[in-house]
């Protein structure tokens, strides 16, 4: 499955290390842990909580041949990712997928970095080096870092919604909410509570924002009817999108509460929250 590295074929570069013996092809993909998008696809911008995965194969510069597992063992080869802040990530060589019965398997080097939730955002340069037991080396530096390309960026996941979307709370409601709460806001009796005429919907905007951001789990009573469901969190929506939805539901179907700003949503997003916490604080 050499093809997965083909796109990087033009991207390897040999650094100024003396007489490199190896060259490396590498890429960066999104790992599954905490993924907020498609996994195992090439990626440059990661969000806190996501996993950065480096993959690499190493070639002998003289023969242009990819090193086999046996050769790697004989050479005592070690491959390391070095980040701009000095951190080193040791790569491991192994077959993927681990299931020996998988129809296609390929062995390559890999390592990962789980971005902490509180990691600072910004760009982060990186490089990769290979070194054998005799001190022979090879190196990979992503093309463009020396001229300002941000090869790896950590960015906040909160979205500045497209302007058109932010302005259309009704469309967003239809996309994200109406399948449960229905287009007319009446919900489905016994399953999904109504939003029309709900005192929670027209009440504290900050609490309502927290319900959308973090979800709600547990028994509640709405307009005299009991519900015991589990509303999922919609924290992946942007502040502007949540604000647009809330503004819509607070003013539709006879509801007459004020608009909700993106700033309100942003402020609530910054606080810890959970479906259980929202249930505990559900207005009695």
């Amino acid at each position: 499955m050499r093809s997965i590295f083909v796109w990087m074929a033009a991207c390897f570069s040999l650094t100024a290390l003396a007489a490199p013996k190896y060259f490396i092809q590498a890429d960066v993909v999104r790992g599954s842990a905490g993924a907020q998008g498609a996994v195992c696809v090439a990626n440059s911008v990661f969000f806190p909580g996501e996993q950065v995965v480096w993959r690499a194969v190493v070639f002998d510069l003289a023969t242009q041949a990819r090193l086999s597992e046996e050769q790697i063992k004989q050479l005592g080869l070690a491959v390391t990712v070095t980040l701009e802040n000095g951190a080193n990530l040791n790569m491991r060589y192994g077959p993927h997928p681990p299931d020996p019965n998988a129809p296609k398997r390929e062995a390559f080097w890999s390592t990962s970095y789980q971005i902490p939730a509180d990691a600072p955002v910004g760009t982060l340069k990186w490089s990769m080096t290979a070194k054998d037991k005799d001190g022979n080396t090879g190196a990979f530096t992503p093309i463009g870092q020396d001229v300002g390309l941000a090869v790896l960026t950590i960015a906040k996941a909160q979205a500045a919604a497209p302007q058109a979307a932010a302005a259309d709370g009704q469309a967003l409601y239809g996309q994200y909410c109406a399948s449960c709460h229905q287009a007319n806001g009446q919900g489905l009796a016994g399953a999904f509570p109504p939003l029309a005429g709900s005192r929670v919907v027209t009440g504290d905007a900050a609490y309502l924002a927290r319900v959308v951001l973090f979800g709600l789990q547990g028994p509640i009573t709405v307009r005299g009817q009991n519900y015991d469901g589990n509303m999922p969190a919609f924290g992946s929506l942007s502040d502007a999108q949540v604000a647009a939805i809330l503004t819509y539901v607070r003013s539709a179907w006879g509801n007459a509460a004020g608009a909700v700003s993106a700033a309100t949503v942003q402020a609530e997003r910054a606080k810890p929250g959970s479906p259980q916490d929202n249930h505990a604080k559900y207005p009695k």
């Binding site: 991207c11 911008v45 995965v53 802040n85 990530l89 600072p120 941000a150 960026t153 906040k156 497209p162």
Partner: protein, 462 residues
């Protein structure tokens, strides 16, 4: 390949221990940001540093090579931590390139805390209403310099107009387009992308959620007489006066150091043998980028003239009908020679007719267009819709274009913008389909290589 990740273990990573947070954490140029830091050395004085780049277009030997950018770290202010190791301060986002900027609190050469700030591109129009032909100033701050961040494409009512860059202007681009179309609202939309609008940017590997891929604004076209552009001749670059020729030996000078084709040059040569013949010539370039023969420099003779009894040569001659750029004039008499550098600048020689019947033929003639990979073409935009480009290298700076007049009666607007014809892509993915070639550079002041004017023309269909 989700299975792959099951094998991988999370690794520790040592970011600076102190915490730095911003409110807000993204915003356009001019945003006031409140910063808080914790975990600093108590009582320490630190420098708050803003990371950016010194970016520039690179053109070497007439070949476009992309952008180079060296990292810069600019101290913004000093911050003193209190006894608990906390500090609060504020700063205003400077007029700078957009997208992600690292910042740090630094003590000496040690980075104590780091945090990024996202500078969001911002679009403004001025004015926001006016009659047909109103010049609309489109200003964008916070454009980036990295490959996928360095331009935004302007669409006028979903028609492609051109792209805006701000490599040489620190992220701020200013363009002028003219109100076109029917009375009523018109959408001007900026979309990110390397070659055209990249329509699913939110799924790009480079997507930064704080930065919308699309930003838009509305211009309302109002009834009223059409606003017409100034005379094309006045849109060419003003002629630059030449410095006086100095020195004791043979020398050659003129009243102007630049001019459009046909504009008069009063040459004065001095220090030549009395009454001797003086051969005058200038150096140009001949060739093209299409035929495969390449190009070469050529000496173009202008004739032989006689020096007077004082060894002076006085001549008035029109600016040669030749390619844009620096042309070195040489006056030679035997072993005696002197040189003078003169720049030919582009101009609109003719355009018309106006009025023209619906579907009639329009003829545009440019003179003094360039020859390099960045200077050899002009792009044409009709009523804010990109038509194509025309090249003047093989025709020695002459571009003649025939257009079909629109069928809709009334005033229409034709804009000519410099562009990048070709070069070596600096796209990180090494694909030539990804580059910025042959696009109208609406912020033409940011054009790489030569400084070239844009031209704004109008014609009436009737």
């Amino acid at each position: 390949m989700r299975w792959l990740m099951l094998l991988l273990c999370a690794s520790g990573l040592a970011f600076a221990q102190a915490r730095l947070t911003f409110t807000p954490d993204h915003g356009p140029v001019g945003t006031r940001v409140e910063a808080r830091a914790a975990g600093l050395p108590p009582g320490a004085t630190l420098e708050f540093v803003w990371f950016s780049a010194e970016a520039r277009w690179v053109v070497e030997n007439a070949l476009y090579l992309g952008v180079k950018a060296g990292e810069t770290k600019t101290p913004v202010l000093k911050v003193t931590a209190d006894a608990q190791g906390q500090a609060a301060f504020s700063f205003v986002v400077p007029e700078d390139y957009g997208y992600v900027h690292n910042t740090a609190l630094v003590a000496g050469d040690k980075e104590v805390a780091r945090q990024g700030f996202v500078v969001v591109p911002q679009l403004t129009l001025s004015p926001t209403s006016g009659p047909l032909g109103t010049p609309i100033t489109v200003k964008v701050t916070g454009l980036g310099y990295r490959f996928y961040e360095r331009g935004r494409h302007l669409y006028y009512d979903q028609k492609y107009t051109g792209w805006l860059t701000a490599i040489s202007t620190k992220g701020t681009a200013v363009a002028t387009v003219r109100a076109a179309g029917e009375v009523g609202p018109h959408l001007l939309e900026l979309i990110n992308g390397p070659r055209r609008g990249y329509l699913n940017g939110e799924q790009s590997p480079n997507y930064i959620p704080a930065i919308p891929y699309r930003t838009g604004a509305v211009f309302t076209l109002t009834p009223g007489p059409a606003v017409l552009p100034p005379d094309p001749a006045s849109q060419a670059f003003a002629r630059e006066p030449a410095p006086p020729a100095s020195g004791a030996g043979p020398r050659l000078g003129a009243d102007f150091a630049s001019g459009t084709v046909g504009s008069l040059i009063n040459l004065l040569g001095q220090g030549f043998p009395a009454n001797a013949p003086v051969a005058l010539s200038y150096r140009s370039v001949r060739g093209n980028r299409v035929g495969g023969g390449g190009w070469e420099e050529a000496e173009v003779p202008l004739g032989t003239f006689a020096a007077d009894a004082q060894g002076q040569l006085r001549l008035t001659l029109p600016t040669p009908d030749d390619l844009e750029g620096e042309r070195v004039f040489t006056a030679r008499s035997g072993e005696v020679q002197a040189r003078f550098t003169y720049r030919i600048t582009p101009s609109v020689a003719s355009f018309g007719p106006s009025p023209v019947r619906p579907g009639g033929e329009l003829r545009l003639n440019l003179k003094g267009t360039g020859w390099t990979g960045t200077g050899n073409i002009y792009t044409l935009v009709l009523d804010n819709s990109y038509l194509g480009y025309a090249c003047g290298f093989n025709t020695r700076g002459d571009i003649t274009v025939y257009l079909t007049a629109p069928l809709q009666p009334g005033w229409h607007y034709l804009d000519l913008y410099p562009s990048i014809y070709e070069g070596k892509s600096d796209a990180p993915t090494a694909t030539t389909t990804n580059d910025h070639f042959q696009l109208p550079m609406l912020h033409h002041q940011d054009h790489p290589g030569e400084r070239l004017p844009a031209f704004h023309l109008a014609f009436e269909v009737r």
